[in-house]
């Protein structure tokens, strides 16, 4: 019974659907994360405009780290599609 279910799921391409949804969720996560970072960056500039240089480099670092996590999910989805 389980094997027929698995064969049906494979025929319906559920794995590819999962990969697509996963990639979309990764994009949402990255967008939220970097949006929060950017928003706080804007607020901090408004409070203290002379610290722009320090804040900018720290924002870039934080954005790169958050994007790194999102890319983990992308790699897993690519593996599903192509392996």
């Amino acid at each position: 019974m389980l094997t027929t279910l698995l064969v049906l799921l494979e025929a319906a391409g559920i794995a590819k659907l999962g990969a697509g949804i996963g990639a979309g969720l990764a994009a949402v996560g990255a967008g939220l994360g970097i949006g929060l970072i950017g928003g706080n960056f804007m607020e901090a500039i408004a409070r203290q405009p002379e610290a722009v240089g320090d804040l900018r480099s720290n924002m870039i670092i934080a954005a790169a780290l958050v994007e790194g996590v999102a890319f983990f999910a992308i790699i897993v989805c690519l593996l599903i599609l192509f392996l």
Binding site: I60, I61, A64, G68, F71, I75, F82
Partner: protein, 381 residues
Amino acid sequence: MRKTAENADNMIAVKRLILITIVFSLCLNFYGEIDESIKADSTVKKTKEDKEGKFTPGEFMLEHIIDKHEWHIVTIGHTPITIPLPIILYSNISGWHFFFSTKFHLGYETYENFKFAKEGKNKDKIVEITSDGEILPLDMSVTKVVFSLFLSTIIIIILFISIAKQYLRNPYKAPSGIQSAMEPMILFVRDDIAKPSIGEKKYEKFMPYLLTIFFFILLNNFLGMIPIFPGGANINGNIAVTMVMAIFTFVITTFNANKHYWQEIYNAPGVPWWLKFPIPLIPLIELMGVIIKPVVLMVRLFANITAGHLIAIAFVSLIFIFAEIHPVLGYGISVLSALFSIFMGLLEILVALIQAYVFTLLSAIYFGMATAEHHETKQNH
């Protein structure tokens, strides 16, 4: 002092001459192979063209990301012009083999009992046909990525040794020429990455490695964005390359770690004793952290660069997908595709810079953590 400067100049000239003769003779060697490969490919390609008519975007994308045994430059009409690269194999049965990839002719022939496996569990790898079936030999060929790595290494060596010679010759002169282009970046690595993370006293030991990593990743990213030879090989998008760099960072961190660092991991002060004994939970978690940090470095660089290349290829293949439906649609979408490709290309340049910066910065932070002095924790009552 002048004599040593002249001797240095002579040495540079001699080295350049040697390099040029080596490269030229290699090119002559390749020329014969390219000629043969063009003649062979033109006969094979005609039979292959009938089978494929549809455009498969998945295969198209994968073809441009993965590593290959030859370097394909253009396809004029039906003849592809490729640079064949040497294949170096070692098999347990028949020893070392060295030949050029023209002998394989797009995977349709077998040579010395080796062939490209087209299907089965060894798909797209070179296998050896023995009486027991197919086995995998040890494949140490110079593939596209390896060849491009050699090229970028040569560029970096030539560039930075000439800058260093200029500094040696006249240390008190204002920088000029290529010196003035590289000096801000070198000082940037020193003042904004190394000194804040590692500290004033100990940063000099790690500067050579940090500078090498920064310029190596940067040059590889930029070379990968040039569409024509000698650029265009997906170097940092190959997980083996990034894995080696992450292993280097890990090894340097481990060998330079002082007692305080290991104490923080395995016997952290301030953590209650029942988390460390009898089941060492905190040491296990910290050990996983030690392994995971370089792994994250590896995957971050790999994923960023591969994603950039995939997006560029996706926009190009969009044109072909639409053109299959109707040629006019193909022309229409090509304008949009070109504009988006330019925008994504600019974004990719930014990503190339940021990824080099983040890799170097995180390596510097790990070195700083490994060599940090012991801080007494102050308790305010």
